[in-house]
Symmetry: C2
């Protein structure tokens, strides 16, 4: 019997249990609220840490339900327990579709037609702008960022990307290093944030960055809520420096009902749905990591806890 | 000197003149309103017929600004003048992007999040449905329809298509013949109309077709306005048989300000922007057809006026 604790506000054990059990019939998985003896638990499969995680004193692995682990607050996790990111093709597919949708919606003026449709007009024909004339900037060229950059480039957009260190992606202009961040921003009609959250990138979506972007440009944040200085976004939207923002992640989720973003006409709020693992395709990696953990081996996609990803 | 008349409500001679002149410096092109001697005109480049087209008695070719010609009302065009459709890669690119956007918007619930964002919530997380579980039906598998079917299939959707005659498209389930139209409708969570407008297809988007579709499904009409029985759509939306419709074409364009579609919350109206030719890429075919017309040769993409396309 392998004992697993499951904890997430945005994933359901009911979705995970059947595919996990097919691969590992001896699995005994419980939601954190149903665990009475934390010391008996071997493995944690979690989005955020379960309450009283320090009582799970015999954990052999912590497996993230996300492609990243920053939502876990590494300092609060028990030291010495190996931690793994989830690498699921569905995570990339979901993010590619979300970013394409959010980009096309601005590119093809659907955010304007939605308003006109609702307000009874006007009918205003404008010749669609060719994709090649729309410059998309991508912050973060890790696995997800690079996939999305390639996907948008193959749809004909003029795509540039930025990362801390040099990257090469066919069909994509790349910049690297902090001193080139302004150059990326200055050439982005639509800027997509896909950075990991680290001490260096926290608050990167700020007044300073927005002021470098072309007047009337758009922001898409699918990184983390703490990448964004929320007040700076409101100022940029109200001044017209930015024309709109599509936000999938927030400092506090669910976004509180009294948050000013709910009352800002040019913000589209989506409830952290850009992507999520598909238990059917991701279960195999989870089971492989459970087996590796029980044998004391290095995990697949194990996180360097000092580096933070 | 070659004399050309230009007539369109949705295209601009100013966009066409520079690329046409680069290829054919001796071109003298005028908007229909500026033509004082219609009998002197050699070629018409038009979306709809110019006023008093019968006075253009020496036309050697009529070149459509659209991928189709049904907007021209073939019976009203002077007989015996060769007529050509425009086949421009930009027409396909624009339509692919529009259909992907309209499909993803429903698939990923953006039409719901737009409303929640506007109304101050709620925050409602649902696990995104995999693309493979979303069935897209395509009416019309001509050049545009086949491209869009392949494009959506490559994005992971379950795509089926219907045409009058048999077609084969890799990765797409195809049906053909009128007796299979119901089967296509019954398997379409999202139905896209890309048919040419003919006597047979006029009014095909009707109560009868909607009643075959799954309850709560969606319609995207990028064919022609006269494919749709407008009252039948309103009934289907109000009863919940359909959950939403994205309409780019209408029986009367611009859509009149008092039209009930403007007051229907589940209709997204776009002002005939799904696609349009890009003068930069399409000018070459127009010039080749002008030269062919002057030499009395068959045009590229010449229309069979009896068949209607």
């Amino acid at each position: 019997m392998v004992k697993l604790v499951f904890h997430s506000d945005i994933d359901y054990l009911e979705d995970w249990l059947p595919p996990l059990r097919r691969l590992l019939p001896e699995l005994d998985a419980k939601k954190s609220a149903d665990v009475s003896d934390p010391a008996s638990i071997d493995v944690a499969l979690i989005w955020t840490p379960p309450p009283r995680i320090e009582q799970y004193c015999n954990l052999k692995a912590i497996l993230s339900l996300g492609a990243g682990v920053d939502q876990l607050d590494l300092k609060k996790l028990p030291k010495g327990v190996p931690l793994a990111r989830l690498k699921d093709p569905s995570l990339t597919e979901g993010m590619k579709a979300y970013c394409m949708l959010a980009v096309l919606r601005y590119h093809r003026d659907f955010h304007i037609y939605e308003r006109f449709s609702r307000e009874g007009g006007p009918w205003r024909f404008d010749l669609p702008k060719p994709a090649a004339k729309r410059r998309i900037g991508i912050l973060g060229l890790g696995e997800l960022g690079a996939s999305i950059a390639s996907h948008l480039a193959s749809a004909g957009f003029a795509v540039a990307g930025w990362a801390r260190t040099p990257r090469q992606i066919p069909g994509v202009t790349t910049h690297h290093g902090w001193e080139r961040l302004d150059a990326l921003a200055a050439g982005s009609d639509i800027l997509i944030n896909l950075l990991p959250l680290t001490a260096e990138t926290e608050g990167i979506l700020s007044r300073k960055l927005f002021s470098q972007m072309p007047e009337g440009s758009y922001l898409i944040n699918v990184g983390r809520g703490r990448h964004l200085i929320e007040d700076d976004l409101l100022v940029a939207l109200r001044s017209g420096q930015l024309s709109g923002a599509t936000l999938d992640v927030f400092r506090k989720e669910p976004l509180p009902p009294d948050h000013p973003f709910w009352r800002e006409p040019n913000i589209l709020i989506t409830p952290h749905v850009a992507t999520s693992a598909n238990p059917e395709t991701a279960a195999q990696q989870v089971v492989q990591n459970i087996e590796r953990a029980l044998r004391g081996e290095t995990l697949l996609n194990q996180v360097d806890r000092d580096r933070g990803y």
